[in-house]
Symmetry: C2
Subunit: 111 residues, 2 copies
């Protein structure tokens, strides 16, 4: 079943998946003109190679452990840790454990 | 001590406050041109009366229980529940228990 985007006022569960994480997939929860919210599922050993997006981003680790590279910095994120990445800055992720992340992007509009 | 805003790549702890909630205050974690992230502390019985902001918002309950009114809908949010509110839509909060919420606003720029 394709997962649809949440509508305004619709309650979405973003609690840790626990044992269900192995069968979960990355899913866009919200997509509007200005905002995109994605729940990223990254199993242990998997990575997202360095990339950048035009808009500011926030990343919140919901469960697991990831090594997060941002610019020249390397950070470790575990459940309940949060960081912000300035738009245009390269970042990368490597899952040390089965992990989920809530990522919010302030979408940039072309002038 | 005034709490400063997080810089790009700075790790912030957004885990539940637990017993420390009684002495915590609402704090803006991130403020950029495009994005604002606020950790709202709302003790049991306190409310935020109906209001609207121009940009799209996401609200994630980190702990506690709040009744969330959005448009004509009434929702209950507990830890790990998330919703999105379309920009310009009136919403209100009433804390049923001592609660913290992570609120993200996609800031609208005047054309």
């Amino acid at each position: 079943m394709a997962l649809s985007h949440a509508t305004s006022g619709e309650v979405v569960d973003v609690r840790p998946l626990g044992n269900a994480i192995g069968t979960a997939i990355t899913h866009t929860i919200v997509k509007t003109n200005d905002l995109e919210v994605i729940r990223i599922v990254l199993l242990a050993g998997n990575d997202l190679p360095p990339h950048a997006v035009p808009g500011d981003i926030t990343v919140q680790c919901l469960e697991g452990k990831v090594t997060f590279g941002v610019g020249n910095l390397v950070r470790e994120l575990t459940a309940g840790k949060f960081l912000y990445v300035e738009g245009g800055v390269k970042h990368s992720l490597l899952a040390r454990e089965d992990s989920t992340l809530l990522v919010t992007i302030a979408l940039k509009h072309k002038p």
